[in-house]
């Protein structure tokens, strides 16, 4: 891949100076801990020098969530036909109820469960343990929601501390109900971020779900699974049709708008296509080892990356699919061109800084670039080394890379680099908007979307243009 053109005013030296100045305001110990997580990009460096997946430095105002958030919010919550039990006190379940935008089909409370199921721990549950309560509530849930296809039990902080054994309760109830009851020990204090929650959830899927089901119909040569698309704002519904258009059969989706039995039968597919590498690479690797299923990372943000990805997917199949790929690319070209023609003139030369979970900063770069926007800084809440290694080549030399950035740091960086847009989360949004800087939430698509696929790019382009060019920003500076 050709290296990005340098961005005016940004050099390794200028970025390093900015980092040094920012660190200088911290206590020494914090400086030492934070320094390895900030760096000026060296596109050809492998591995990327920025360190990641380390403990949050206490007190710095990190934006990270916890293992439970990674399990319930990310992996489990989108599986629409299961009941997901937030096991522990009331808070976690309430805060994560309906706040991720993983849309799902079905009739709520009948065939789909976009709700908050919790054991609402009280003092006595802490003292005497919650296993019996769990048993009871699983029975109650199955009785009141008989069409559920299984349940997940997601531990919150106290559960692991009081010595409850959700695993044996789950086993017992699975037998009793003859339905999946999957324990997931994702207490919020485990690990350093959402990331461990993903991993623990993947492990529970491996141990309790995958391989337990099979499709009625014969396996076909074009069977694939979509891994790591959570249907935020309807992303799956924009991505799946493209894959079907090139002749593939999407047998299951992990986990956006997902169905648990189909997830459990995924081991019969010919290829796993993975969008969010961070949260689900583990399962792809398991299926590769155990069932010999190859996997491929793809990126459906913006026409350039979509085309690149489609061709790579085509390479995994025969000429028929390859031909279809070219047909599909050709079909959407004019429409994509007209989107770019409409918005690029207004966005060309603008810059943006991104800070999102574990995938989107690098994955959306292409879509921004399709619109003429350059990325001057990027970083992740909970990425690992392999994510940063995949990021470095997508960014221009000297641009800023920040891992688990604190509010203090990000504010300084934005103040200095003055991007035309910041793309990050709800906790950051209003900080920057107060400063008059256009902002889009890049976890939730700011209540818009989908952003995946051809359909998604149209909406993405419109939203980014709307954010940057809204006349409301002109009102910020008062004349008096």
């Amino acid at each position: 891949m050709a290296e990005r053109k340098p961005i005016k005013g940004i050099t390794i030296e200028s970025t390093e100076k900015l980092i040094a100045e920012t660190l200088a305001e911290m206590p020494e110990k914090a400086q030492k801990k934070r320094a390895p997580h900030l760096g000026a990009n060296e596109p050809s460096a492998s591995p990327c020098a920025v360190k990641s997946n380390k403990k949050v430095v206490p007190g710095i105002m990190s934006q990270r969530g916890c293992a439970y958030a990674g399990a319930k919010g990310v992996v489990w919550g989108p599986i629409r036909d299961m009941i997901h039990i937030s096991h522990g006190p009331v808070g976690c379940g309430v805060y994560s109820w309906g706040t991720r935008r993983n849309l799902m089909q079905g009739i709520p409370g009948v065939t789909s469960f976009p709700m908050d199921f919790t054991s609402d721990f009280q003092e006595r549950d802490i003292v005497y343990g919650g296993d019996l309560k769990l048993e009871k509530l699983i029975r109650e849930a199955d009785e009141l929601f008989p069409l559920n296809k299984g349940m997940s039990v997601l531990s919150e902080c106290p559960v692991g501390l009081i010595g409850d054994d959700i695993n044996s309760t789950a086993r017992k109830m699975e037998k009793e109900l003859d339905k999946l009851v999957v324990p997931c020990n994702c207490e919020g204090f485990r690990g350093v971020s959402q990331s461990l929650g993903h991993h623990i959830s993947n492990d529970s899927i491996r141990d309790h779900i995958i391989g337990k089901f099979k499709f009625k119909e014969e396996a076909g040569p074009y069977d694939i699974a979509l891994i790591g698309d959570y249907n935020i704002g309807g992303d799956v519904w924009a991505a799946k049709p493209i894959l079907e258009e090139i002749g593939l059969t999407v047998k299951s989706v992990w986990t956006g708008d997902g169905e648990v039995e189909k997830i459990g039968a995924t081991h019969s597919v010919k290829l796993n296509l993975i969008h969010c590498y961070r949260s689900m690479n583990y399962m792809c690797k398991v299926m590769e080892e155990k069932w010999n299923i190859p996997w491929l990372e793809y990126n459906f943000f913006g026409p350039t990356k979509i085309e690149e990805s489609l061709r790579a997917i085509g390479e995994m199949f025969d000429d028929k699919i390859k031909k279809n790929v070219e047909k599909v690319i050709k079909k959407y070209k004019p429409e994509m061109k007209s989107v770019v023609d409409q918005y690029k003139p207004r966005l060309d030369g603008k810059t943006a800084m991104l800070f999102v979970g574990g995938l989107r900063p690098r994955h959306t770069i292409g879509a921004y670039e399709d619109l003429g926007i350059q990325i001057t800084g990027a970083g992740y809440e909970f990425a690992h080394q392999d994510d940063y290694d995949r990021t470095a080549p997508e960014m221009a030399k000297g641009t800023l890379i920040y891992d688990d950035v604190s509010e203090f740091e990000l504010e300084k960086f934005v103040e200095e680099l003055k991007p035309d847009l910041v793309g990050s989360g709800i906790k950051e949004k209003y900080v920057f908007q107060k400063a008059g800087i256009p902002f889009r939430q890049m976890h939730s698509w700011d209540y818009s979307g989908p952003y995946h696929g051809y359909e998604g790019f149209k909406i993405f382009a419109r939203d980014i243009d709307m954010a940057i060019n809204s006349p409301t920003w002109d009102l910020v500076k008062s004349p008096f």
Partner: protein, 488 residues
């Protein structure tokens, strides 16, 4: 075939007939009974955990940085919840305890966290509160914070009130109470001067997500010429302007004012249930009169509040407020026909519920299903008495410790015209095909409602307009052509 392979099941499709059956079944009386029988499972609760309430209080003092002792994830949940509701920044920091904290306790995290938070964000006060984790392992906050000061990680004179806010006990309103009590206790220590009152009124708004309400209280005081200090005043923090500069600490109760509050002429709490312990402390320690008022929803409760303030400060009710009262009554008499006789479901925190119910009764509407997802029998008694006080309360029922899935059954089996509550009630409203009037916390799917007061005479007009006009909109949108009219 091996046993393992034999155990592999086919992917199933639920038959349409089954789906239809269950879809109808969940609306039946039989289902309702089953639903009300559950004792372990909670579905769609309408309450949150203690530290959320603590964070609201901690945010309400000028220059204060809320500090969460416990898991990082909780901190992110609280901040996100406030940012979604207010569409504002919600600064708070956390000492991010992890597995080793669970083993060795969280002192080291607290040390490092306090040092960094103070150095980076230069707060005037660091109120500390807890998540589940340190509560379960039994961290000794008092000792830890003292030790942090001894080690000079933060200045010895920096106020660091702390509250234990275990989530497996009470709800967000109790966290509010615990944190407020602790902050006031801390700031007012040694500040009492006998015979030297400030002449001021202390107002405690309680856990109220409506900054318009807070501002309405202040406006009323100003109109009455009563000098006041609002304690835990989040109005300018959770509703700050956009002028091109982000301010980490855009407002809140001044620390000196909070410290001086102990010498006030009177202290009133606008929310009984979220200030029980705070008021206990104030009753013992503060100078002046102490009163717990009912939230001034509707005309009667607003009258009560004004009369009380007038009595406490010997000030007459100003002409302006008399005029506003008349305007509210005018609006209510004009529009009574759109609400009279209609049944409503109401869900929320205890004090909000008492206020909304009082307003509905005033309008001649029936607060048919009143549901609080965590409350005491005392509250239920109070609510029952309120319902009994009016003929419009006849047949109405108050449910405590029930959730929004119970509410769904109530709406399906005993229908009402509309439901009043926070955003979480939208699923129940949709299933029942009735409008949701968003009053409460959080409101995360509409803009600006938190800015428009629902208390006081102004609030009564706002609520009335919101409710009546919605019913008229529905009529216009759904009626057949021959019933579509120019006037309503």
């Amino acid at each position: 075939m091996s046993a393992a392979e034999a155990a592999v099941k086919f992917v199933t499709e639920t038959p349409e007939k089954e789906i239809t059956r269950v879809k109808e079944w969940i609306n039946t009386e039989e289902y309702k009974e089953k639903n009300f029988e559950r004792t372990a499972l909670v579905v769609n609760p309408a309450h949150a955990c203690q530290p959320l309430g603590a964070q609201m209080v901690a945010t309400g003092f000028e220059g204060a940085l809320p500090f969460i002792h416990g898991s990082q994830g909780c901190a992110s949940y609280f901040r996100s919840t406030f940012s979604r509701h207010y569409r504002e920044p919600s600064a708070a920091t956390c000492d991010a305890m992890t597995e080793d904290g669970a083993v060795f306790g969280g002192q080291n995290n607290l040390f490092e966290g306090l040092e960094n938070a103070y150095a980076l964000y230069k707060p005037t006060m660091i109120p500390v509160f807890t998540t589940c984790m340190p509560e379960v392992i039994g961290d000794d906050l008092n000792a830890y914070i003292k030790n942090a000061k001894k080690k000079e990680l933060i200045p010895a004179d920096l106020p660091t009130p702390y509250a234990n806010t275990p989530s497996f006990n009470g709800t967000h309103i109790h966290g509010y109470d615990a944190m407020l009590r602790s902050i006031l206790q801390d700031l007012t220590t040694d500040k009492k001067i006998e015979d030297k009152g400030t002449g001021k009124l202390n107002i405690i708004p309680g856990f109220d997500g409506n900054v318009g309400n807070l501002r309405e209280y202040k406006r009323i005081c100003e109109l009455m010429g009563i000098p006041y200090t609002m304690l835990a005043d989040v109005s300018d923090v959770f509703d700050s302007g956009c002028d091109g500069e982000y301010k980490l600490y855009p407002g809140g109760t001044k620390i000196e004012d909070a410290a001086e509050s102990i010498n006030g002429k009177a202290t009133v709490s606008m929310m009984k249930y979220s200030t029980l312990n705070t008021m206990k402390f104030i009753n013992c320690e503060y100078s002046g009169a102490k009163e717990v008022l009912s939230m001034p929803f509707g005309v009667k409760k607003t009258d009560e509040m004004l009369l009380k303030l007038s009595e406490l400060f010997g000030k007459p009710i100003p002409e302006q407020l008399k005029k506003e009262r008349a305007l509210a009554v005018d609006a209510m008499t004009d529009a009574h026909q759109y609400l009279h006789g209609l049944k409503f479901a109401v869900v929320g925190d205890p004090d909000y519920l008492l206020g909304i119910v009082s307003f509905l009764l005033e309008m001649g509407a029936h607060p048919w299903h009143v549901l609080c997802s965590r409350a005491t029998k005392k509250f239920k008694k109070e609510m029952d008495a309120l319902l009994e006080s009016s003929p419009f309360g006849e047949g109405c029922t108050c449910y405590i410790n029930k959730d929004l899935w119970h509410m769904r059954s109530l709406l399906a089996t005993d229908p009402v015209a509309g439901i009043i509550g926070d955003t979480h009630a939208k699923f129940a409203a949709r299933d029942a095909k009735i409008p949701l009037f968003r009053i409460g916390f959080p409101i995360i799917d509409r803009v600006n409602l938190h800015r428009s007061p629902v208390v006081g005479y102004t609030g009564a007009i706002n609520m009335l307009s919101m409710i009546a006009n919605k019913f008229l909109d529905i009529k216009d949108e759904t009626c057949e052509d021959q019933w579509f009219e120019m006037m309503r």
